[in-house]
């Protein structure tokens, strides 16, 4: 039965990882997304894990989202969680410049080192746009970074919930567009044995690729 018992069945399971400096709001972003609330959270120790069910088009998705600690000290530990991720969200704080520069100096290299998925979708997210007056990184810089590193880009606020859902949805849409990743998500995971209707899934996945 597994944890999906009592939960709606799903067509795909995707693993998403949140990375970035300490205090940029990774956990807040996740909380804002999974439970529609905002809180100043205690620092994450090691890794945390949350699940969110989404329906996009006709597809039922299960997102397994891993939230990692930002401090360098935990990096050896968190490195093992890159394995098998279909999506990686790099978060920075638009009011703290160093959290942005560290993405290229540190975090992008971490992805190169530890990500096992060549086609893994990367997304750049600038958080805390509610503090517009304290902004230290312009939107254009974010766009430029995204262009260089070939990733999606959005600015959001976990506090006001502006663009929070879009962050995850855009990422998921892009994953769904990538055949190698949808194949993994629908048949690679252990969870697929719980699926009720595998035939339906494979049908749908091909049609979805075309439609998007």
């Amino acid at each position: 039965m597994g944890s999906s018992s009592g939960q709606p069945e799903f067509d795909y399971l995707f693993k998403v990882l949140l990375i970035g400096d300490s205090g940029v709001g990774k956990s807040s972003l996740l909380l804002s997304f999974t439970s529609n609330t905002f809180d100043d959270l205690s620092p994450t120790i090691g890794v945390d894990f949350k699940v969110k069910y989404l329906t996009i088009g006709e597809k039922k998705l299960k997102l397994a989202i891993w939230d990692t600690a930002g401090q360098e000290r935990f990096r050896t530990l968190t490195s093992s969680y890159y394995r098998g991720a279909q999506g990686i969200i790099m978060v920075y704080d638009v009011t703290r410049r160093e959290t942005f520069t560290n993405l290229s100096d540190i975090w992008a290299k971490e992805i190169d080192l530890y990500s096992t998925n060549q086609d893994c979708i990367k997304m750049l997210v600038g958080n805390k746009v509610d503090k517009e007056s304290e902004r230290a990184v312009s939107k254009k810089e974010g766009i430029d970074f995204a262009r260089v590193y070939g990733c999606l880009f959005l600015e959001c606020s976990a506090k006001t919930r502006v663009n929070v859902e879009q962050c995850f949805e855009e990422l998921v849409l892009k994953i769904l567009e990538t055949p190698s990743l949808t194949a993994e998500g629908s048949s690679g995971g252990k969870k697929n044995i719980f699926k009720q209707n595998p035939a339906h899934t494979s049908n749908a996945s091909s049609s979805y690729c075309c439609s998007s």
């Binding site: 944890s3 300490s22 620092p43 120790i45 090691g46 945390d48 397994a64 935990f74 530990l77």
Partner: protein
């Protein structure tokens, strides 16, 4: 303190420890000031003079306020068994000759490390040898910058975490909860904490005290410095002990064991996790096999419990309860109560250094049925463990942990 010590001896130890703490704080302020000055540090001798006197002033204030606080503490101590036990705990570790040697070692190395900086500060303070300084600084700067970089990273994260500390402690320390806004902000300014937005005064005070002590600790123990999770460990101590110097040395005592969990090489934490794994293996081979099947037998899903010692899973009061039982065990071992004594009292758990790990294993074992029947991945177990908050009964946990100790301490 030594059990046979006189009041004077205890007072002098206390004063000496107070001074050592003040010394560490001074180093923190100096590092902080240098960071703030940064590149535009080429000020006239005069301006740096006035700044110095300001710093000294605030230093005096800090001293005065903490000494008045220590009187309060002494009073509350008589009522408060918690702080007595903590005192005993950390003083003991401070007094044993081994730890003393360690202490003086680390402070010595601290001094040698920072003495060039201090010397430079001194010179600036007198404002006489400015030109010589300028010619010297280019060669000496890179080394300082490296050090400062470390310090800025720690200082920044410490402030970030201090402001994020929760307010569960508030009902347990009315005197700190009722701090005035002006006083709280004053103390925050002293430690260079400015980014606290719209926190209530008591939380500003708490954050400022966290910053002061965590920074001092980072200077005291540069190998560990600051690692996230340490603020979780310090916060409850601050709630019970109102004097900063006192709280600092208790924290040092606490960290003498806990620091291994924060090591960069992860040796400490891995040893602890493998111990939890072993306890589960000996107690419940079926659960262990299940974990093996899920490739989760390394027990990384209890990582957070080990690092912050159940602080995230238990309420404030429950945490203090668990920690005190843990410390009592460790104190019993230090006082040399031999296993043999316990052997005579059948069925009672002997004191163990690792009660925490038995408790963690117990919390996992309490969920064995769910884990075996329902969970098919390490992620699900981690989710279960990270969401135990508010669902644990600390007494049941301790009972189960003690049962495990009785059954397994010989094997492990």
């Amino acid at each position: 303190y030594d059990l046979n010590s006189t009041e004077e001896e205890r007072d002098s130890i206390r004063q000496q420890k107070q001074k050592e703490y003040e010394n560490l704080r001074r180093q923190c302020r100096e590092i902080h000031r240098r960071n703030e000055n940064g590149s535009d540090s080429k000020q006239t001798a005069q301006s740096s003079n006035t700044e110095d006197s300001q710093v000294l002033d605030s230093h005096d204030i800090e001293q005065v306020s903490s000494s008045t606080r220590s009187i309060q503490v002494e009073e509350s101590e008589k009522l408060n068994s918690e702080s007595i036990r903590q005192d005993g705990d950390c003083e003991k570790s401070g007094v044993t000759s081994e730890d003393d040697a360690n202490d003086s070692d680390s402070t010595n190395s601290e001094e040698t490390e920072t003495s060039p900086l201090l010397a430079e500060e001194e010179a600036e303070r007198h404002g006489k040898v400015n030109q010589e300084k300028d010619t010297q600084s280019p060669s000496s700067k890179p080394k300082f910058q490296a050090e400062e970089e470390f310090n800025t990273i720690w200082q920044r994260i410490i402030r970030l975490d201090a402001v994020r500390a929760n307010d569960e402690w508030v009902p347990y320390s009315p005197s700190q909860a009722g701090v005035s806004d002006t006083k709280a902000r004053g103390i925050a300014t002293q430690v260079g904490l400015t980014d606290y937005e719209d926190l209530e005064p008591c939380r500003i005070l708490h954050a400022a005290r966290l910053v002061a002590i965590l920074e001092a600790y980072a200077v005291y123990d540069p190998e560990i410095g600051y690692c996230q999770g340490m603020s979780d460990l310090l916060s409850p101590i601050l709630a019970v002990i109102e004097d900063d110097a006192f709280a600092f040395w208790c924290f040092v005592g606490f960290m003498s064991k806990a620091r291994h969990n924060f090591r960069l090489d992860e040796v400490g934490i891995r040893r602890q996790l493998s111990m939890v794994s072993k306890i589960i293996k000996y107690k419940d081979i079926r659960l262990y096999r299940h974990l093996e099947n899920l490739e989760a037998e390394d027990c990384f899903f209890v990582y957070r419990m080990v690092v912050v010692m159940f602080r995230r899973e238990l309420t404030f009061e429950q945490t203090l309860c668990l920690w005190e039982v843990m410390w009592a065990d460790q104190a019993a071992i230090r006082t040399g109560i031999a296993k043999a004594t316990w052997g005579r009292i059948r069925l009672r758990a002997p004191p163990t250094e690792d009660l925490l790990l038995y408790a963690i294993a117990a919390s996992v074992l309490q969920r064995r049925k769910t884990i075996i029947e329902k969970y098919s991945g390490m992620d699900e177990i981690m989710k279960e463990c990270n969401s135990m908050a508010g669902r644990l009964d600390v007494w049941k946990l301790l009972d189960d942990a003690h049962d495990l100790v009785v059954n397994l301490h010989d094997k492990i």
